[in-house]
Symmetry: C3
Subunit: 433 residues, 3 copies
């Protein structure tokens, strides 16, 4: 590694404004109020629960107490990139050096965090300091979007309620309330999707999105068959696994119909096994399956050639499969590095694969998946550093590679800007910054 | 990366003549006639179709028009290794620098290509310039091999018609025409295989070959059961998936019988999903499945210990499984880096795995899979560069590794020559160059 | 790679005593008596069988003849890390340089080995020279443990006989002999487990262990259902695949009951396909399946939150799945790098994944899997070198990484010591050295 070159590249890349195309930020309260809220992020509670078991129990409703409880245990995860994110938050936003993170200082750290984050101007300062230009959100159909600043936030419609959870009576009832009448027919079902898209579009909708279990197979399902499944659910009969999948397939097609009509992408996040770990913390109970095939999406991708599918995969084993799909399929766009793959080893490999074989106008570089805006900067830095390493390597190889033109700093920065700005803006139709 | 050492190694490796053990070159017209034919290669049309969708439609029958259409879109794939191959073709064969590849120059580029490639001596010049010593072909049983120069070309018998496509009436009829009587019995079937092997052997047959879908399971199938399947096909009843697999298993065993008799290897290319992408260009519609087990080949490998199986895998997830098979199985030889795995990330990893754990006399370094001889040089260069990087790393590690003897330039070149020349020549029984 | 830094780190790491948490060493005769026994290790016979086929036949009962036969063929595997282990044994223990390993010297090498290894003080010298502090063993329930030096050896109970082999009459009979009465009821079954744990605990039991086929699914199995399966086995009716799996699940839960009671970990080694290669040498017939899901362990891990599960995986494709499990599950500990994954490519990747995302107190760095104590040093060196490379890279990255604190030599050595000593000692409850 050429440290000087990596540093130079990193600094240039770091100067690019951040477009964060997938977060879980709450637009009504996008920032943490204190370090306890930062520490309540599952990346910390799950690691501490793993390192020093407490049955997933943490004082989540008392951020100060949570801070007191977590502080001494953080030494157990000091090797992790997640801890590095925390230190960046500390240094950059709280002006506290990493060596101040010791057990005795928990109150000092908490107080400092309240001092900084409690100020009304904190949100604007943070956005300016982190140079965040746009943030995509994760929203339920029923979320209140009134007053949302569409010049900064893009609300995104989660589609699990439609495709994966509609067999739950409460979810079905919620959809009915949203629609204004019970969802009893496939016509009602299309209507509630339509209503959701109309609502979201009025607020600058980014895209539809879903996190999807491993090995889902989407096939054609006729309206009559779907109606039969819906009748069954309404009648209270549980669906079996194949029926579940058939409904998911039907629903995803109806959602694609809406994506087509409203010209919105469908962001797929493929491969999660929910609730695998019984003693986990909230949001820290899910894993993935390394045996995961993308083949089940052939029907969807082929049937909706005019819908864009930015796609993230959870399993490292799906990395080249996604790369190959994006290499030949015009409507599949590799999107970021998700969750368990959102760490240097996977990022480095997928980045290089995509750079070497996928048309340059297709990959979306990164998203943070952040719960609070404070996480956007450290997570993007992690990615930007790996990008700098990959581009530096590419520059150095190009000097002696028999097939390559020399790649200079400007060319490398063009690639970085394409991944981090041009592609997300064009693929997701983001207005000029 | 030690650039000076990599360069030195690369240059030494580049001086080795090329033995290309798998191509799709047409021996009657092995070279492109113009740059339009080069650009018609699916690696370009599929990437352009992916980057700027045109429903797989390109003016394939008009190379000049294809050139005109493709040129402006190539900027979208300038980051790819495939584009790098093209630039090598341009620089080395057309004497056109990469910066001349701009929209305005399409006619100039086309004309220059015709000027160079249109000359009768082009084939010989190209072979000399690229230093190609031998080229293996991909042939159907019915291909005309009369006049083929067996001192340069090794025809290889594709076995899909026998094992995977015989349920198609046209294919069955073709086999019958070749045999001289309809294929109605398993005896006929063995006879048509025998006839194909005899024909190919008379022309310096390289090996039998097949590209195989993911997760095929080969098991013992009795003649009577196979006859039943054949009767069914002849009778016009479609086979189900398990019957298809049973026939494939039976056919592969009969093909292995012939390999045994004629002492020819069976080159397996494992893991392709055909026709996955509906809107793709010709040869750009196939993908692979990351969940692919090689376990289904246990029976075949065990039952034919005296048949050599050079084996390529499409999925990166099969890489270590192939390495392990080659590590203990005497008749499995890892062969090159195929298709979606034919790029630097996968090559670098598989190369290192094979070098570290597979007996040195077993891996076949590389094949180009080229459609025209022009592609052989740039593709081999890509591999040779990764090989140089891997060997340079090995040399540097050896200086401080507690288990290793210092590896010098000569030792590194021995490895390169083994992978690129000695192994393919011995395993595939290639006559001295 | 910064060679000077790697070397410095390696030397510091090499000075750490070795705690080897999984071997196949025979405590009554832990050392080889001559180089023929070293060469009888399947890592050599399988590679030679693969490189130069001899149908798995070697003169295993005549070490001198085996040496004579193997010597000339070793040149075929000189590229492998396994050969590098052998050269370390030669240099370090036999004072024979690598260049003396030529065909003509076979007798000299053999004689020298007898001279060195034949001495009564050899065991102690070797342990001192290799700086081995503790060695875990692989034992059957019926193994004689009387006289075992529990201050150096930790016997570990293999559980295949209970969970995977009990349908074999001889194995069932053996268990009955050990119990003192035939195993006829699930009560007998729990009793024989209990007796085995009691025996092993009296001799300083390390843990229970099992190597497990790919894709096992452990689910709840009632006593009555298990009794039914046992009746079937006793009655001589073969179990089908699902019944086999149900029994394995039942047995693993009963074994976990005992682990819980005796506060012993259960070391899982996941993903082996036994007897895949028909013509292989002893212990050289097994492969793995790249399509392997860890999902089948959810029930076990969740049901026994108070049992520790150090876990090794055979497939590279399971690497991130194991990392993710260890990242959130408190009772899963990634353990070493097993068999086909015990080579630099896989070690480098898994090491970095674990360092970046798993709490630092959880990974167990390495085990040798050695059959003789002579192998412990070279195998640990291989790992320690990769660890030095990874830590050097981490140090260098930390100097310019925007999220990282500078990592110095002391910090890097803390990590090394944690992986190699602190974690195995705490997780496996090893008494102070």
């Amino acid at each position: 590694m050429n440290n000087a070159l990596v540093k130079e590249l990193y600094e240039a890349i770091d100067a690019l404004p951040i477009i964060d195309i997938h977060t879980h930020v709450n637009w009504k309260r996008p920032c943490a109020a204190n370090i306890g809220e930062i520490l309540s992020y599952h990346y910390y509670t799950e690691l501490v629960n793993s390192a020093d078991f407490q049955r997933g129990k943490f004082p989540f409703d008392d951020p100060q107490e949570l801070t007191r409880v977590m502080l001494p245990k953080l030494t157990l995860i000091r090797n992790t990139v997640q801890y590095d994110w925390l230190m960046t938050i500390s240094r950059e936003f709280l002006w506290l050096d990493a060596d101040e993170w010791c057990e005795e200082n928990w109150q000092l750290i908490f107080d400092r965090s309240v001092e900084v984050m409690g100020r009304p101007e904190w949100r604007e300062e943070l956005i300016a300091q982190a140079n965040i230009a746009r943030v995509f959100l994760t929203n339920q159909y029923s979320d209140d979007l009134e007053g949302l600043d569409a010049s900064f936030y893009s609300p995104c419609l989660r589609t699990e309620p439609f495709a994966l959870w509609i067999d739950r009576p409460a979810e079905r009832e919620g959809l009915g309330v949203f629609l204004g009448r019970p969802v009893r027919t496939v016509g009602d079902f299309s209507a509630v999707i339509e209503k959701a898209f109309a609502k979201f579009t009025a607020h600058g909708m980014g895209y539809a999105a879903m996190s999807i279990p491993a090995n889902l197979v989407v096939s054609q399902v006729a309206d009559a068959d779907a109606q039969h499944l819906l009748d069954k659910m309404v009648g209270g009969t549980p669906l079996d696994a194949l029926e579940h999948q058939a409904w998911a397939a039907y629903a995803m097609c109806r959602l694609c119909d809406a994506c087509r009509k409203y010209r919105k992408p469908y962001h797929l996040m493929i491969g999660v096994n929910r609730d695998a770990y019984a003693q986990g913390v909230p949001s820290g109970m899910d894993l993935f399956d390394s045996a995961n095939s993308l083949r089940g999406y052939d029907y969807l991708f082929n049937t909706y050639p005019d819908v864009r599918f930015p796609t993230a995969v959870l399993a490292d084993t799906s990395g080249l499969e996604l790369t190959a799909a994006a290499w030949i399929r015009h409507n599949v766009y590799p999107s970021g590095h998700w969750w368990y793959s959102n760490q240097p080893t996977e990022i480095a490999r997928e980045l290089r694969r995509r750079l070497d074989t996928v048309p340059g106008n297709k990959p979306i570089g990164y998203f943070s998946d952040a719960y609070y805006l404070e996480f956007v900067l450290p997570k993007f830095r992690m990615y930007k550093f790996e990008l700098a390493v990959a581009l530096a390597e590419r520059m150095e190889r190009s000097l002696i590679h028999p097939n390559m033109e020399p790649l200079g700093l400007d060319g490398a920065m063009d690639i970085a800007q394409t991944l981090l700005m041009d592609n997300p803006m064009r693929i997701l139709v983001i207005p000029a910054l």
